[in-house]
Amino acid sequence: MSMPFYVSPEQVMADKAEFASKGVARGKSSLVIECDIGLLMMAENLSTLSKIGEIYDRIGFAGVGKFSEFDQLRKIGVRYADIKGYAYSRDDVRGRGLVNAYSQVVGDAFSQQLKPLEVEIVVVEVGDSTLAGHENNAIYRIQYDGSISDHHGFCVIGGASEELSDFLRSRYQDGIPLGEAIELGKTALEQAAEGEPSVEVKNLEVCVLERERAGRKFVRLNSDRVGELLGA
C-alpha cells in the first residue's frame, strides 16, 4: 500500500492560488467605468459568447477566466435575483447581497474543491436617484478565492488588470461622458494588446446600466452605436 505524500496546507493553498490566478490572467481584461449616465461595462470579445450580462433591474455582471465557470455563476446570480424579486419586491434585490452569496460559493470552491474556479467577476449596481438610500453606484470585484473588494470610479478584472488599473487611475475623471468613457476603456484595453493591432470596434462588447431608464436599466450597445459614440 502506498502512502500519500504529506503536503502542508500552506503549500496546497499557494498552489491553488497560483493555478487559479494563472487561469484568470491568461484571458483578456474586462472593465467597468462610472460615467455620466450610469455605469459602463466593457470587454474585448472575439467570440459571440457574452462576458457581460444582465442580472436584474440595476445589476450587471462581467466575468473573466473560464467561460463555463463564470457563465454558470452569472446564471446562479440571475436565478437568485429573480427569486428574491418575486418573493419580496424588485427594490429588495441588491448588489451587496448577491456579492456576499458569490463570495461564499467561490470561496467554498477554492477551499474545498481540488480545482478552484478560474474566474474573477465584477458585479455592478447603478444607483436609483428616486429611492432614498439607493442613490449610489456600487462596483464589487470577487476574486478566485472569494475575496471581495469594492471600487469607485472604475475597476478592471482579468488579464493585465494591474497595468490597466494604473492606466485608468491616471486618466479617469468623475462624471465622464459615456462616449469618452468608451474611448478611455478602448484605449485601456489596447494597452494590454502589446504589439497587436488596436482593438476593433466590432470586437468590443459594451453594455451600460442607465441610471434614468425605467425598470430594467441594462442595455447592450451594438457595434454601430458604439461606433457612433466613439465618433461623437
Binding site: 440571475v78 436565478r79 437568485y80 429573480d82 427569486i83 418575486y86 461564499q104
Partner: protein
C-alpha cells in the same frame, strides 16, 4: 435565501417548482366546496389588430358578486417590451399569472441571452393557464389574452385561451370576461384590420362602452372619478399606453353622438 440549487434550465416557473416549491401554492390543498364567489373577479378585456400592430384594452372594474371590489384595477400588463397580457377571471390568480409571465419572459431572456419568439411566449402562457386548471375547477379560472408585435414577421399577433390552456391565434379580434361577448359584438361591426391609431382607439372605447352598457360587471369610463379604461398599442416601436385625456375625449364624443342621435339633432 438559497443560492444555487438543483435546477439548471431557463424557465422561472420550473425553477420555482424544483428549488422553491414553498413559494408555490399547492392547489390540492384547497378545500372541497370552496366558495369562489367571495373573491374579486375582473371582467372585460379585449384585443384586436390594427394597421400598425395590435391593441389590447380592458375596463377597470373588479367585482365580488354584485359589489364593487375595485374601480381602478389594472387588467392589461406589459410582459416585456413587445408583448402584453390582459386578464379576466378570478383577480388574485389572474394578477399573479400576469406577474409570473413577465418574470418568466425576463428570466428566459437573461439566462439564454435572447428573448423567446412571440409564439413561444404565447405557448408558455398556455402552460400556465393549464396549470391553473385545478383552481379553475373550483371557480378560480383565469382566461387571459396575449398579444404582441412579432419582430421577425413584422406583424401584430393575438391569442385567446380557454380554461384548459387551449390556445387560439386570432386573425381579427377577441374579447373575454363577463362583458367579452358584448365587446366582441361591438368589434364585429366596427373592426377593420387597416384601422389607423385614431380609428383603433375609437373602436376600443366604443366596444368597452357597449360592454359596460349591457354587462353590469363591466366598468365604463368613470368621468366623475377620472378613471378610464387601459388601452395599450403594441407595434414596431414597442408598447404605448393611450393617455387618459385622449380616451376621455373619445368617450365624450361617443356619448355626445349617441344622445344627439336619440334627440334626432344629427
Amino acid at each position: 435565501m438559497q443560492f444555487g440549487g438543483k435546477y439548471q434550465g431557463s424557465s422561472f416557473s420550473e425553477l420555482l417548482e424544483v428549488d422553491f416549491s414553498y413559494l408555490r401554492l399547492n392547489w390540492s390543498d384547497l378545500v372541497e366546496g370552496f366558495d369562489a364567489s367571495v373573491v374579486p373577479h375582473g371582467t372585460t378585456v379585449m384585443g384586436f389588430k390594427y394597421a400598425e400592430g395590435v391593441v389590447i384594452a380592458g375596463d377597470r372594474l373588479a367585482t365580488v358578486g354584485h359589489r364593487v371590489a375595485s374601480r381602478d384595477m389594472e387588467k392589461v400588463y406589459p410582459t416585456d417590451a413587445y408583448s402584453l397580457i390582459a386578464i379576466a377571471g378570478a383577480a388574485g390568480p389572474a394578477v399573479e399569472m400576469a406577474r409570473l409571465m413577465r418574470i418568466e419572459l425576463e428570466h428566459y431572456e437573461k439566462i439564454e441571452g435572447e428573448p423567446l419568439e412571440l409564439e413561444g411566449k404565447a405557448n408558455k402562457l398556455s402552460q400556465m393557464v393549464r396549470q391553473n386548471m385545478p383552481a379553475a375547477m373550483q371557480g378560480l379560472g383565469v382566461v387571459p389574452l396575449f398579444a404582441g408585435y412579432d419582430r421577425r414577421r413584422k406583424v401584430g399577433r393575438l391569442w385567446g385561451y380557454d380554461m384548459t390552456g387551449g390556445r387560439y391565434e386570432e386573425t381579427d379580434y377577441e374579447a373575454t370576461g363577463s362583458g367579452g361577448l358584448y365587446a366582441a359584438e361591438s368589434l364585429k361591426k366596427s373592426h377593420t384590420l387597416d384601422a389607423t391609431r385614431t380609428e383603433a382607439l375609437r373602436m376600443a372605447v366604443q366596444a368597452l362602452v357597449d360592454a359596460s352598457d349591457e354587462d353590469r360587471a363591466t366598468g365604463g369610463p368613470d368621468v366623475v372619478r377620472g378613471i378610464y379604461p387601459n388601452i395599450d398599442f403594441c407595434n414596431q416601436n414597442g408598447i404605448e399606453r393611450a393617455p387618459e385625456s385622449e380616451i376621455e375625449a373619445v368617450f365624450r364624443a361617443i356619448i355626445a353622438e349617441q344622445s344627439d342621435r336619440r334627440r334626432g339633432t344629427s
